[in-house]
Symmetry: C2
Subunit: 203 residues, 2 copies
Amino acid sequence: MTEQKATNVTWHTHAVSKEDRWNLNGHKGAVVWFTGLSGCGKSTIANAVDFKLHQRGKHTFVLDGDNIRLGLNKNLTFSAEDRTENIRRIGEVGKLFASAGCITLTAFVSPYRSDRDKVREIIPAGEFVEVFVNASLETCEKRDPKGLYKKARAGEIKNFTGISDPYEAPINPELVLDSDNKNIDQLADEVIAYLEKHGIITA
Amino acid sequence: MTEQKATNVTWHTHAVSKEDRWNLNGHKGAVVWFTGLSGCGKSTIANAVDFKLHQRGKHTFVLDGDNIRLGLNKNLTFSAEDRTENIRRIGEVGKLFASAGCITLTAFVSPYRSDRDKVREIIPAGEFVEVFVNASLETCEKRDPKGLYKKARAGEIKNFTGISDPYEAPINPELVLDSDNKNIDQLADEVIAYLEKHGIITA
């Protein structure tokens, strides 16, 4: 018995490294961080990239309001402090997913530059891909898929990004998508082309 | 231009389902939740299972103090409230990993039954595997790999599980591992046998 206890303690862990997990998947992990106004197309583009990559056998996952705000971050409000904590947690989870070998697509307005920059800081170089989904406020408000702009204009939603709260566009993002003038298929393909060009996936 | 904007809005998402992701990986996702006293072997067993499954081409990931307490949960203390929040967040992240197709191995003391039961509640049936790593306090204290028991006995650590804070053993866990009398290889194989028997992986 004593022998076995000793074995217990001294068992040498053959740790699985990040690279081992990436090799198993056949591609690198990354956090593809979509940012932009409500209605700019973040979620739709993220899901289109997810679908196209999955069809090609890549390991992907989407983090968005549906699975984060109702789960991990359900104890956060929309106060300035909690918005920062919201983005911080999503960044940390994205980092874990990337080291597990997933191409993780996050779709959050994430309006503040400092919050996004903090995420960039914690994620290893080359694994963070900031994608600015650029659509004019006019376009987003015209689309208004969830009727949120209407409510914000009516004063029913306070601190609404683009109306009563600022959106700070990225200064030097990895990718800018022209969501005013291109369709979802085109934009998703631009993201995938970026991932190929930078060796996260092979062409 | 107007046409393209319309396309933008009406693009039908071919959503990737949890089952799609599981099919790609060739196995189901799950959260294998190791619980037990400090020094009982949770982390070592989790890493051994991780290594063995990875060698077999399974998609796995370990959540433990190293990657959680220094990242996602670095803003939590060891107060009762924060311990509960610690476990809640880990549960939510495990749930996401499982739906991404990962066999997620979590290694935390998680001493309170109600905290673990809340995790069980949020994870779909069959995807939560509670593993009680059963080692006597005597065994754990004799091993004391991090010198924590010594510090707790000296009063340098307050609220230390097993010494000055209770450990509530699971009443009906999926698996109990006899860490007093079996070695790491045996215990890891018991976990893998469970996953095979319950169809999470194929034999």
